[in-house]
Symmetry: C2
Subunit: 253 residues, 2 copies
């Protein structure tokens, strides 16, 4: 049995707590948070505390907090015997100063009130000590079938890739939504296209799946599209992404 103290009371902490609670190999013994109200929803899973000096002993301490809070919070755990890990894609493992340190990074976007099937969430793990990596492997595979061994240097670049395919993609959705609002067309009209675009690359590499005016280097259509865009930042985005596509396929001719 792997005993866990979870530090953090946000979306990720909550989803992790739910996932661990379904595993027979893991027991969350305590959840620490600074916000009494946020801690409420953890009470059915584990003991909760607002007091860092009252943390229980555990095999693993998991920091599921904002990037900025990782270092200061980890300092409060310097005397602990267990393995201390953070869950942030973009933060180096060595921000933690414990001999037994590691990273447990679930590569997914988590929304409050939307259940996640953790078995399909890729978890990227790393540890300073070999035996700790095996422990994290056990922990990760108790909730997910996709466990990857990724060192900090690679993981931090992977995190940039995640920003492109998640945060930036969502922003393009928002631009599409804005155009629909302006034209008084329901955004729902774009949803099947959005889903199919995401679905397509399960069987076809995005590089091969590329279509559109820029892929064809269709200057007339691109010029016309630019004339329709009123927002100057959106114009710039249209231009830059089109140039990037053109360049990408020119280079590969």
């Amino acid at each position: 049995m792997i005993s866990i103290v979870l530090l953090g009371s946000g979306n990720l902490a909550h989803h992790l707590c739910q996932a661990f609670s379904k595993s027979a190999k893991v027991k969350v013994v305590q959840v620490y948070g600074r916000n009494k109200r946020a801690l409420k929803k953890f009470e059915k899973f584990a003991d909760t505390t607002l007091d860092l000096t009252l943390l229980k002993p555990a095999t693993i301490y998991i920091l599921a907090v904002n990037d900025d809070a990782i270092k200061p919070l980890s300092m409060a755990l310097m005397e602990k015997q267990g393995l201390v890990v953070h869950t942030a894609g973009g933060i180096h493992m060595d921000v933690l100063q414990h001999e037994h340190r590691g990273v447990f990074y679930p590569l997914q976007t988590f929304t409050a009130d939307k259940e996640v099937d953790f078995s399909a969430v890729p978890i990227s793990i790393e540890a300073h000590k070999k035996e700790d990596k095996m422990l994290l492997q056990d922990l990760a595979s108790s909730i997910s079938s996709e466990v990857y061994d990724v060192p900090s240097s690679k993981r931090m670049k992977l995190h940039v890739a995640a920003v492109f395919v998640n945060n930036f993609v969502n922003h393009l959705y928002a631009i599409g939504e804005g155009i629909c609002q302006q034209e008084k067309i329901p955004f729902e009209i774009l949803q099947p296209l959005i889903r199919e675009t995401a679905d397509k690359i399960r069987s076809l590499s995005p590089e091969k799946a590329q279509t559109g005016p820029a892929r064809r280097n269709d200057a007339d259509t691109m010029k016309q599209h630019l004339s329709y865009l009123e927002n100057s930042t959106h114009k710039q985005i249209y231009q830059l992404l089109s140039e990037s596509i053109i360049k990408n396929y020119e280079e590969k001719l």
Copy 2:
């Protein structure tokens, strides 16, 4: 019974032909194409021809061809009695010079060999004459439950929105794939995140779903991410999209 002559032998023509063949209200009487080999796969659905002078009479002539081919091909149909429509999101209806003209635009991305559930594909229709619009409404609703009445001016802007959420989104996927390749991490690790990002906005507006370093205006993380990107165009894309996100949420404070 609505009789159809389909002009074009590409992906869209093929998917339309398959969808119409399942409808009892529609009969594809002929498919015209310039490419004998491409026409082969239409033979099980309808007569095919390589000769524009041999087109059969039909209720509707559907031009499912490249944007550039619409106008010249439509000229060859000037003597026809039926309704002539094109299927291009970005082309004005009036490129067609027929009195009975219209647009039948399925808002989806079509891939060869990947079947599409047409019942969920939004179809945007338009016609110069009221009775022709009713005919297109009948045709569209025979294969899809999502039919929208969208005039050319709006549809052409909708088409730009589609470029953002499909072509540009796919390019961001390709950038993510490229980073994975460079780091020798399987691209599969990003797939659940990609799917969830697309899935999330079915219940949450993309504007509200926005997360990430730019949304938090986290300058340190953005600076670090930029330092990881080697490709100068990718750096520019990272910067521009981040600025756009920051600006978007500043304005809405």
